[in-house]
Symmetry: C2
Subunit: 539 residues, 2 copies
């Protein structure tokens, strides 16, 4: 009965508004990896969300891409497309309604503008790069529900992000319970209906998605990837308990709307295993649905509570892991790489905070330390900030300001990562010396973690090295953000079966405090490729 | 031409020997999980290994088990069967040769004798138990090539094993290069042919397998599981380079011969990725072949060099892992469990030794420490012993004597494991306090590893506990093998959101040396099941 009432109400609204009078002409050009959009007038009667099928095929002469359109309310239908190559594209629509079918047109995809490097892809198996080849060194943060806060808070959140090192924001799509639910009820919900629980799951609320898209575009323009969490166990508004058909309708609608934003990543769920209405088979089905619906192959993951997901599933592009303990000491995190053979992003490593919850009580150094361990492990990490406030109104829950001390240190780390080897930081001798990583033969990072040594005898693992190779060394203070060159150079000589040391057996003096790293870079040019030994059985 | 010559030679040998005169009658009874064998006379001409198909169906009225027979030379064919239930079994043979087909009979499977607990199975997801339910706490050792040494060495190896705590021996099926290859060439090879490289891969050498079986039976009678490594990259005698058909013939022959030994485990390969003639798809095919050919479902695994195998494959019963680093600190090893959701056996964790190789330079404490870390991680480990000898004639290569110091300490650990909870040692609060494991609510092991604290404030993670619960504590010295009770008892009171401590805030005095553990056992009887909290999101 309630559903019928909603349907009638919705119908009444549409009828009152009537058909749109004038729709914009699609642009003649758009940047490569920009967002091209067609708006079409079509039927507003019935339930356009389920009755109308609309898509378009885009063709650049060598590639055809089929994308789904979507209903945006008020009798308006849209088709969005992200051109992945430059040059002319033609399109033609197909629909099960006459006003929408057979529409044709063309546009030119131009060179990308400054700051547009395309979507992020998996690169070099365990790392990421933008589509244009520029390495992407993920430094994420978590702002679950910032989109449902008052506008002033959202604007503040954007300013905080703009001044931060974060190039990924992990955010919920649908609501979690919030203090704003009482004082400022979320102004927009994803479905038509009556908050908090009476929804018509066959009718989306375009205003909700339009607002979300405004924020997606702003993040994009800040160079921030949006890791959009499609389902969450927190809200309990009903969106976590849809049946399989409604789940599919939901993710198809979201992919049709958001897929042409180049900065979108899909995260099926936060703490998927706490969402007890779905089985792993359900998640696998949803994951395959998203992968099939998304013509661009945006990054796609799922994040665990207690039960690690099987990230070997082919639709999973990278392992999104909750496990802060794995980043307490270098050595554990690379096991996730070995097991899944995909990039590993530790999206939850405990939050920096002083909260009563122990998953939010890292001090600033602890957060920075875990990011460094992630880096040395050839993996990536995600930040959170959770200081005691009224109603847990924290950065990580709702955005706003960041209270913790880690942010500038993460900016410093990101600079170092971006100045590092293009192939990413890789484990080098992880069964024996996990604290050393980089690219064998040319670039080494050594991180001492919570230890506080006062000296380190220069030593490198043998592979890709020869006697006489020359290196410079810098001492890095990860907290004070200093890089101090060590005087002179280090020239290799054989120490034993496994290692090279400096010809003068030089050591490096260290400040005797936690959070010290070394950057060791080759300064001579290797004359010939040294035969690798990593693949022998003498390991 | 060479193959033809072998064929003719083999034919000549068979013809000279002629058909067997009298074959034993199958026994009227055999123990449950014992080995029932039928011997049949059949054709010796042609190539019986490939020409003759023979199998039998065993039927106990409710279960039919089809097992393959095999040719054992001299015109004798055998079918072996391990009854998995007690009572009457009937059988009937089928073959593509008249003398072998339609043979019928019956026998009774009686109660198992002392020491016969059946084959080892996966139990409680991450652990093992014998078929009769007795927990099996794996304490493995490695004796790769002991079967090809002189008989005196083999006998010494058996005596060493009998006096050891080891309940699993990891051993190659085919030869690796050995000092014995020069001074004592292996007396038996798996194929007919001319060592070291001229083999007829269509003809097995029954004498080789008969000898191997003698040793398998001796291990069985010592209570030792034989983890048989079907392929290895070391020998380079050609057995590692068979084509797919020859691989299949080989593993089917081995499974037909050895499968009825209850103490058999199958390990497809040691360091599979160093065996460069096979792809991962090949291993997957071989793994599926073994699983399909083995009617008993013996444990089946594959062991890695650098490249971790995908142990999620359905035919893999447990992850057999080389990674000693993961056992240096508690916290890393359980990631393998999380990723694969199967028992994890660290079959190679470096060997105890003073060898020039760094994979064989653990001191005794290092070996014992890694076994303890494995235990605290809810996983299992394997021992090796590799002290400098002429031609690397070490325990782990060829058996004989063990030189290291870890063995009695591993016996001590095994006793503790066997006195522990039936469900096995499980991680308890692994994201926060990985050094504590056991069974929540009743049994806790706490291991301090290489740290040397002088005191520990009694504290347990909240789940499955209530105020007033009472515990006794013992201090364990893992090296000196002592268990020292702490006076009095510990009575729980709430400390905070996450922990209980002792009502008097008692601490435990510790000896301030590495290698100390605590055993903490509940002494009151819980009155009612305490609701678990592990599955909440407040983690």
């Amino acid at each position: 009965m309630l559903r019928l009432l909603f349907a009638l109400l919705a119908l009444a609204l549409v009828s009152l508004r009537g058909a749109p009078e004038k729709l914009p002409t699609p642009p003649a050009s758009v940047e490569q990896w920009g967002l091209f959009e067609i708006a079409l007038a079509g039927p507003a009667e019935g339930n356009p969300f389920v009755d109308v099928r609309l898509d378009a095929v885009f063709d650049n002469g060598s590639q055809q891409v089929k994308v789904a359109g979507f209903y945006d309310g008020d009798g308006i239908y849209r088709i969005r497309f992200m051109p992945t190559t430059q040059g002319k594209w033609r399109y033609r629509t197909e629909a099960n309604r006459w006003p929408l079918t057979g529409k044709m047109g063309e546009f030119t995809a131009t060179a990308p503008g400054p700051g547009n490097h395309g979507p992020v892809r998996v690169h070099n198996r365990f790392h990421f790069a933008y589509a244009d080849g520029k390495p992407y060194r993920q430094v994420g943060t978590t702002i679950y529900n910032w989109i449902d806060t008052p506008d002033t808070v959202q604007e503040e959140t954007l300013r905080t992000l703009a001044a931060s090192p974060f190039n990924k924001a992990r955010m919920l799509l649908t609501q979690q319970p919030t203090p704003y639910r009482k004082e400022f009820a979320p102004p927009r919900w994803p479905y038509v209906g009556q908050p908090p629980h009476a929804w018509d799951y066959t009718r989306f609320n375009p205003a909700f998605f339009q607002h979300y898209e405004t924020r997606l575009a702003q993040l994009r323009d800040l160079g921030i990837e949006a890791d959009i969490i499609l389902f969450n166990p927190y809200g309990q508004f009903g969106f976590e308990s849809l049946d399989a058909a409604a789940d599919e309708r939901f993710v198809r609608y979201v992919v049709a709307r958001f897929g042409a934003f180049r900065n979108v990543w899909w995260s099926l769920a936060n703490e998927y295993d706490f969402l007890r209405t779905k089985t792993e088979a359900d998640w696998d089905q949803i994951g395959r649905t998203v992968a099939a619906a998304d013509p661009y192959g945006h990054l796609l993951s799922i994040h665990n509570g207690h039960l690690l997901f099987d990230h070997r599933q082919p639709w999973v592009t990278h392992a999104s892991v909750q496990d802060g303990q794995a980043l307490e000491t270098v050595g554990a995190a690379r096991i996730y790489r070995d097991a899944f053979r995909k990039p590993v992003v530790f999206d939850e490593i405990k939050y920096e905070g002083d909260a009563k919850f122990r998953w939010a009580d890292l001090d600033g150094f602890g957060m920075v330390h875990r990011f460094w361990v992630a880096t040395l492990s050839g993996t990536y990490a995600g930040h959170g900030d959770y200081f005691n406030t009224v109603d847990e109104d924290t950065w990580t829950s709702f955005g706003g300001k960041i209270s913790g001390q880690s942010v500038p240190r993460l900016a410093f780390l990101r600079q170092l990562m971006e100045a590092g080897p293009a192939g990413g930081i890789e484990p080098i001798d992880s069964w024996m010396d996990p604290g050393m990583a980089g690219q064998m033969g040319s670039y080494y990072l050594h991180y001492f973690g919570r230890q506080a040594p006062t000296t380190w005898t220069f030593q490198l693992y043998r592979d890709e090295l020869v006697e006489g190779a020359r290196f410079r060394v810098e001492v890095i203070d990860v907290w004070d953000m200093t890089i101090t060159p060590v005087e002179g150079e280090f020239v290799l000589k054989r120490k034993d079966r496994y290692h090279f040391i400096d010809a003068q057996s030089r050591a490096v003096a260290l400040p005797g405090k936690p959070g010290i790293a070394l950057r060791i870079q080759r300064i001579d040019t290797p004359t010939a490729k040294t035969p690798g030994k990593a693949a022998t059985e003498d390991i």
